[in-house]
Symmetry: none
DNA sequence: GCAAATTAATGATTTATTCAAG
DNA sequence: CTTGAATAAATCATTAATTTGC
């Protein structure tokens, strides 16, 4: 059924133009928006690991919107499932931009020094924010009500904002200088 | 609904008070330039979802430059992250092909971001995928070579994808509607 | 120049997900 | 299967920019 991979690359539709690289590479499946929507729907409906016959059916349905193969469906679910999980695992620092690579490794330098600011004026100064207080473990619950204080504006808002596994932030030591 | 803000709230009055003495307007947090600069610095350094203690520290630091609360920091990162992503999403879809090997091991290759357009797009259509045709067993082998066709780019990858334990999906009859 | 009117940004809430525990 | 934790997406709402008539 799939003979001409060539058709794969750029599908019309709403797939934004992948600049340059055009159809020539039989590279990889490039799902159409409709296909993605449908797959996402299925995923949202609870489907995680489709069986073979499910895959076949899905693939058949989706082929209506563009070229697609069984393996594409298979991979899609595998990847989507894995990445959803991954997302939930290391949520905290996710530079979810594909373009910008800001790796934790870049900006960190950790020294245990807390800035106490009972100083006075924020004029010229270079300040160091100590973040990531060494996540080893405080043992403390690390749950903070962000808007709780009744004297605040309105906080009926309570979102206990717990940090569990996103504790994996690398130590971050930013040197912030204001003119 | 009334914003029952606390002391700082001074409704009305001089509205167009521009930068400078940003103090004490009300309604909602209005970050000073310095605060925004710092937050942006942190964001640029890779911080996306600060932990509770990070929020506290940041807030403490920034309070030096003006009124601020933990929740403001929390919100700022949430919004900034979301809006950066939104911005990027318009240009997303880089399918960096080049690598044609589609194997189960390497298959984690299509970017999740491509699924960015969440569902709910204008396209009137209601489709029903019939999965799992109610009759429990076909007796058929249910084993499908997903990537079998050697005429594909090169992936002779075949994973016979047997469904043993994932057979537990209930008959799924999805009504997928996009409108 | 200046405010009223309109628009653009962005702070704050609500809603819908996902995964994981029970 | 149900529920809780924890977002991210979507949305609401208010503030700042700006446009516009005078």
């Amino acid at each position: 059924m799939e003979q001409n991979m060539s058709g794969f690359c750029i599908r019309g539709g709403s797939v934004s133009a992948n600049s340059g690289s055009t159809g020539t590479k039989c590279g990889r499946w490039n799902p159409t928006t409709e296909q993605v929507n449908l797959l996402t729907e299925l995923f949202s409906s609870g489907l995680r690991t489709p069986t073979t016959s499910q895959i076949q059916k899905i693939s058949t349905q989706l082929s209506f919107y563009g070229k697609i193969e069984n393996k594409n469906v298979f991979y899609w679910f595998q990847n989507h499932k894995a990445r959803e999980r991954q997302k939930r695992r290391k949520v905290s620092f996710d530079d979810d931009d594909k373009d910008v690579n800001i790796r934790p490794e870049n900006a960190m330098n950790f020294s245990t020094q807390n800035f106490a600011y009972h100083v006075s004026e924020p004029e010229r100064l270079t300040q160091t924010l100590q973040l990531f207080p060494l996540n080893s473990f405080h043992g403390e619950s690390e749950t903070l009500k962000l808007g709780v204080h009744g004297n605040e504006c309105r906080d009926t808002t309570m979102f206990s904002y717990k940090m569990g596994e996103q504790m994996d932030h690398p130590p971050l030591n930013l040197r912030l200088s204001f003119m």
